[in-house]
Amino acid sequence: MSVVPRRDFLKRTALAAAAASAASLVPDVVFGEDLDGVGLDVAWKKTPCRFCGVGCGLLVGIENGRAVAVRGDPDSTVNRGLACVKGYHSVQALYGRDRITRAQVRRDGALVEVPISEALDLVARRLRETVDAHGRDSVAVYGSGQWTIPDGYVASKLFKGAIGTNNVEANARLCMASAVTGFQTTFGLDEPMGCYEDIDHADVFVLWGNNMAEMHPVLFSRMLERRRQQPHVQIVDLATRTTRTSHASDRSLLFAPQADLAIANAICHEIVRNDWVDHDFVEHHVAFRKGRTDIGYGLADDFGFTEEVEESEWEEFVEFLDEYTPERASEISGLPAADIRWLASLYGDPSRRVMSLWCMGVNQHTRGTWMNNLIYNIHLLAGKISTPGNSPFSLTGQPSACGTVREVGTLTHGLPGGRVTDPAARQRAAEIWGVPVDNIPAEPTHHTMSMFRALDRGDIRFMWIQVTNPMTTLPDLRRYRAGAEKPDRFLVVSDVYPTATTAVADVVLPAAMWIEREGMYGNSERRTQHFDRLVDPPGEAMSDTWQLVEVARRLGYGDLFPQDEEGHIEEIWNEYTRFHDSPEHRMAPLSELRARPGVMWPFVDGRETKWRYNTETDPAADGAHGAYDFYGHADHRAWIWLRPYEAPPEWPDDEYPFWLSTGRVLEHWHSGSLTRRIPTLHQAVRSAYVELHPRDAEALGVRDRDRVRLVTRRGSLELPARIDYRGRPARGQVFVPFFDESMPVNELTLDAYCPISAQPDYKKCAVRVERVRR
């Protein structure tokens, strides 16, 4: 390899990044230069990207112990050498000037630095004292889909197995819970049946409320490439807001918030009415179920919900669909009936392979579980599932929401590979963990919203928060911040930079970030990805895994955890994978993970499983059930659910006449605590803003960049208006990104949630827009 000066290397990297960005916009664009960004004399090491759930493989250049460069890993089947703007800049997040390098404890109201051993002593002491004084359910751990798999595993083992509380939750509750309950109710098992390779086979892509061009840009570029190679391919953007995705799609269809429920049912109505049903598939592989309706929104602290599942049948399902004519759905959604019929014809055409993709638009929804069910209903009716290109595909938002939260089970009801309510799952956990089975409580305690309400009430007194920033991301934020600030609460926060959450902490622990420690993530397509420690963490920063082990030791549980930091990740992985030692979920050994950019589970006899439930491709599927075996349910069938349209809890009215929706932008990750410290990304989008439709802006007398005030029943916020900047909301709607903690839009949002998944709806509440006169 020739060696080039660092500045020339940076220019080459910059050129390669621009070429990759251009390719995501114009897939067939060809440049003549060598744009691969190689040439510097650095050691290139593999890792998954630290940001979204796509799980792009990256190669990080290490020079003199410092991560200096990034390029897409050409060996990764996920991204094939591409990366997005966040991926290219990811290593810069390691080196912000205000990186937390030492532990801090609050004294006389201020955080002061102390040796980390002293802080860990304090954490253990306060945890023990709280349990002794208030019971084991008075302590909690709140983690993240950015936890590595070992982080989540050790947290679950410590809190559920050793301390004996199910107060274990993660921020994936806020982004993926409806996907989980959707999978579990329809298929009996979590996570997608297909994989990203479906993109290379599909003829139609229907994006349900999913701005992939900004949120999953590398997968979106794969989709554009598929269309470039096969011009018959169509991309349909079905959304409430016009975005970069809309502009790149063949059709942009706008609908009113919450009306996706009616549209999905109307598509099923049309598939049935036109007899586009795959009757053989339905007869042999589908059963029908119905549950409770008028199920509420979880707004009260004492809200409770228990599903009541009843068997149903084809005739009842057809009768249920009667009211969902395209015309009725059009009245609810504003989408023309002809467009609904056209969508149904795409799904109904047996010659087209259809992929549906969704993420927060469907999941952050007070009927999120139902919406997941309804998309599966469409695919099951048409028999378009579990074969290449026929794929209902739930995308994830975080790098290890699947790997850590869903597979390890770091939610109140979860255990690795099971549920706390299942005696067999508790018994297995107790055996593998080496704890008495009675240690593991049989009932879930608090989901995330309930947990922070319990913190506010005082039922929870001690909370340890790792790798997430709830004081920016919780809805109806003022209540939960006030709860966290109450004087007899004790908050421990492990993070890499100061955030709105460290600002309310009693102890801040400096965390080793991403490639400063060894770990694994699990992405959207069941792919587990290992990364080594490539650089040293700064100061006394320590991995979240090892922080938990150190506290466990101080509590007297040291024998349950690795004794030596050297090799502890391998030890944890070998123990964890015992939970998944079956053809349905077997994980790859660490040697395979170390050798490859990632491995999909089930990994059986040295082979990945690309399409689950298909008896030709899934080693767990039994051919005795025919071409497909939906083995998650005892009847070996997937369930079509009768799920109606129901209104959201808050509607625009005379006082609050607009809909407020929130979300991300391409350049920033979640609450911005990492990406706002990357100078280029910060310069690209320096602050939050509110998007207005041009005609709404005109009616309000607001011009681009004027300041406006947003007012909801929960608070108000001033921020600049942007008109036709990044996206264009429909008339009567506004959109605000949540990355900017100086403009915390979640002070305005509503903490209503899906009663089945307990996932809040950040996409719909009523808001007033006022022009700020100076």
């Binding site: 960005s21 251009a22 100086s742």
Partner: protein, 108 residues
Amino acid sequence: MPICSYVVIPNRGAAASVRDRLDAMPGCDVAVAHNRDVLLLVTDTPDLAAEVELRASIEAMDGIQALLLAFGEIDPDAQVPDLLSSSGVGSRGRAGRGPEGPGAGGGR
């Protein structure tokens, strides 16, 4: 000493003119697509102010439909935003609480 890159989408028929004008600007290197009207621009400027000024002048140029940032290496010591002081988060902390918790000294 920022180094940044951009994707430049010129207006229809303006690619050659935009390329020539960008090429003539100090600190700018341009790569041209073979088959589409798409340009890649790499900038090398002495400081952030110069980069911002250069970007503004490019944005004001006739014939450019879109200028999209793809990459940037900017001296972090000079440019990382002071997030906490700008947001007021740091001042919102938990005055009056100590590590020993309620009733155990400190300025409660």
